[in-house]
């Protein structure tokens, strides 16, 4: 082990002991992102990749452009180990810092932490970004003004997956009479799509069986034997962490063809397939962004961030991996929201409330995506006051034993079907909490 690695690991240990690792200098007039990261614990592989990508993008903007419109980004890391109570503690510790602007937004990458912060962040007027995950009905910005499940909420993901399976069978009408099993993680995240799969089964006439795998998912013999008895055409895997490779290995053990397993957006990384070895060959999964280093923005990060020795990933082989690229995409969306907000409020450090306005008006079209060097990496997005998802489409990728290969074009979700259900659920939440609905027709008529 090199001296540099030893030093960096000791630094990590010191950061953990301190609870809060200050990565950048604190100063007024800077845009501040408090990061509730997880670099140790069972989900550290995902955490290091995602937060590594996010920090790498913020560093790129600082190094290349001197910040956004001359205002630099700063951030703190607070270790959560993916634990809700630690996530909340980190929030409480950072929410009032870096005044007068305060935190620009929180990006916890944890459904549990996000759920715990919804009321707090809303009351403190700080955006809570839950890219590709989170509470589905928080898509309804009338009820959840400060929560943004950007790109893809869980129901859209379920709908797009069924649409893809329909394509594979030769059309949505071919779904009738078929069997689909959904293997889900026994957590609020895993259970989020149960009603929507039931609804889609009813709409298209297929038979759905939803099977829970208890946390952490390191034992699935019983579930896969049940699947073997059912003989479904497809299995949708909604896993997390160790559950994913174990599912693939157990599928092989019980004779289920891996190329008929469709993993969701949290079952789609290199970390999910490498431990499964040969068992993962042919496995298909959802993605909102391909892996790879061929995108200009990733190349710039390699050249201008890693080239200057300030790259966040210790293992450079992980640059361009699924989690790292997701972190970069998350960075792009956060920075673009800040840029849009600055165009409205002025080129200075912004409050959370002002950054929320930027997210509320976040638009990424093909032209802007090309300017950012992210063509093919980020999907066109239009967030509005009422719609905090903005995208809702996915691609599908297949693991060949070494890399992920994209095997489909963008597959859209059935937003017309989902939107009334999202509104219904959000309105019920608003009623329960006594929340007054925002009038989005006035605030953002788009």
């Amino acid at each position: 082990m090199s001296f540099r690695k030893t030093i960096s690991r000791l630094a990590l240990a010191a950061a953990l002991l301190g609870g809060l690792g200050s990565v950048a200098a604190k100063a007024d007039g800077e845009i501040y992102f408090p990061l509730q990261s997880y670099r140790v614990g069972p989900y550290a592989a995902g955490g290091t990749g995602f937060f590594g990508g996010f920090i790498d993008y913020l560093n790129l903007i600082n190094e290349r452009d001197g910040g956004v419109n001359g205002v630099k980004f700063v951030w703190d890391e607070c270790e959560t180990e993916y634990k809700v109570e630690r996530g909340v503690e980190c929030y409480e510790r950072t929410r009032s810092t870096h005044q007068p602007a305060g935190p620009a937004a929180y990006n916890p990458l944890s459904v549990g932490i996000a759920y715990a912060l919804i009321d707090r962040a809303t009351s403190d007027k700080i955006p809570l970004i839950t890219i590709n995950h989170g509470r589905t009905d928080s898509t309804d910005g009338r009820v959840f003004p400060y929560v943004f499940p950007l790109q893809l909420n869980p129901w859209s993901e379920a709908s797009a997956t069924v649409n893809y399976i329909g394509q594979q069978l030769g059309g949505l009408d071919k779904l009738a009479g078929k069997k689909i099993a959904v293997l889900y993680h026994g957590s609020p995240y895993g259970k989020e799509t149960i009603p929507i799969f039931d609804l889609l089964a009813k709409k298209y006439g297929f038979e759905v069986t939803q099977i829970e795998v208890p946390h952490p998912g390191n034992e699935q013999q019983a579930q896969w034997l049940t699947i073997r008895r059912l003989k479904p055409e497809y299995v949708v895997l909604r896993g997390w962490g160790v559950m994913n490779p174990v599912a693939l290995k157990t599928a092989v053990k019980t004779g289920f063809p891996v190329d008929h397993i469709i993993g969701n957006v949290w079952s789609n990384s290199e970390e999910d397939v490498i431990p499964a070895g040969d068992a993962a060959k042919g496995y298909v999964s959802v993605t909102t962004h391909p892996s790879g280093t061929e995108f200009p923005v990733v190349k710039e990060i390699v050249e201008k961030v890693y080239g200057k020795g300030v790259g966040n990933l210790e293992d450079k082989g992980r640059i361009g991996s699924v989690y790292h690229n997701l972190g970069i995409v998350n960075g792009i969306l956060n920075v673009e929201a800040v840029r849009i907000a600055q165009a409205h409020f002025g080129n200075r450090a912004l409050t959370g409330e002002e950054v929320q306005w930027g997210f509320d008006h976040l638009v990424l079209d093909d032209k802007r995506i090309a300017e950012l060097g992210a063509t093919g990496l980020v999907q066109p997005l239009q967030v509005t006051c009422a719609d905090h998802e903005g995208g809702g489409a996915v691609k599908f990728q297949q693991w060949d034993g070494k890399t992920w290969n994209v095997v489909s074009d963008w597959v859209a979700s059935d937003r017309a079907l989902l939107r009334p259900l999202i509104e219904q659920s959000a309105e019920a939440y608003a009623k329960e909490k006594g929340i007054q609905l925002r009038d989005c027709s006035a605030a953002n008529p788009s």
Binding site: V40, P42, A44, A45, P214, N218, V252, G277
Partner: protein, 293 residues
């Protein structure tokens, strides 16, 4: 009927994997009365060390030898810096010490080798064998063979070697063992090293099954109901307990699970163990303690 048999066989083979972890607990408990909660962390450390060495192109056998050496050093360190200063302390103090130790070892493992997940290929084909319409995992059969060999080796060790007999004497009565000249610290060192070896074997097998990642340390949770059922101080109990828990939880998941919405195997094993505890507190094979008060 075929399906029932398939679930049963799958459960028994999973149970063998639980037994592998439980044996490490039994070894420590039998000789020192300590419930070593750090067994899972030791397992993680062993697997992570081995796979990290192999990935750095250290030959398989050399990586195994180095990892074994590391487990010996850990065993020595635990005895010297944790157990010896706590000698004569109540069992709950020792248990808490191992709980703390588990966090230290987990943290040290990630600090030393990083947080990445790794694949571990032991060269055993995981394709199923079909026998009379039932799929049986080749890997699980291999693991069962390893578990059987390990139990046999432990039985021979306990019965035929001086150290093994010393283990048994200490397990039976520490004061009596001391009075006949058995050096307790040396026995403890030996038993922690033995537990380290068990952790290495089970770490490699579990690592090949799950991938080598932090979640490996959570497999201890699968061993606890096995120990309650089989008895904390019996190697045979660990095997039988593992088989019973493995089979029961799989059958329960498939046949009772749907009544509760599924996902019951995580807690069913504990319910079964709790029910058994009420009937037979020392477990199936555990030593019944009678104390004069």
């Amino acid at each position: 009927m075929d399906f029932l048999l398939e679930v049963l066989v799958g459960g028994l083979l999973s149970g063998v994997m639980y037994s592998l972890v439980a044996i490490g607990f039994v070894l420590i408990y039998k000789t020192s009365g300590v419930l070593n909660f750090a067994q899972g962390a030791q397992l993680l450390f062993a697997a992570l060390t081995f796979v990290s060495l192999v990935e750095r192109e250290v030959p398989f056998v050399a990586a195994l030898a180095i990892t074994l050496g590391a487990m010996v050093v850990i065993g020595l360190a635990i005895e010297r810096f944790v157990l010896r200063p706590l000698v004569n302390q109540p069992p709950i103090t020792l248990f808490m010490a191992t709980l703390g130790l588990s966090y230290v070892i987990e943290g040290a493992s990630q600090l030393l080798w990083g947080a990445q997940v790794h694949g571990l290929d032991l060269g055993i084909d995981d394709a199923p064998i079909e026998a009379a319409g039932i799929f049986i995992s080749q890997f699980d059969l291999f693991a069962a063979g390893i578990a059987g060999a390990m139990v046999l080796a432990l039985v021979l060790f306990f019965r035929k070697t001086r150290t093994g007999l010393a283990f048994r004497a200490v397990a039976d009565d520490q004061v009596a063992a001391l009075s006949v000249g058995i050096r307790l610290p040396r026995v403890w060192v030996a038993v922690w090293i033995a537990a380290g070896v068990v952790a290495l074997v089970s770490g490699l097998l579990w690592g090949a099954r799950l991938g080598v990642q932090f979640s490996l340390s959570l497999v201890v949770l699968k061993a606890l109901p096995v120990l309650v059922l089989g008895g904390f101080d019996s190697v045979a109990g660990a095997i039988v307990g593992g088989l019973l828990i493995g089979a029961a939880e799989k059958l329960a998941e498939v046949y009772i699970g749907p009544l509760f919405g599924g996902g019951i195997e995580g807690w069913f094993a504990y319910v079964a163990a709790l029910a058994f505890l009420l009937v037979r507190p020392s477990g199936l094979f555990g030593q019944k303690l009678v104390e004069r008060v």
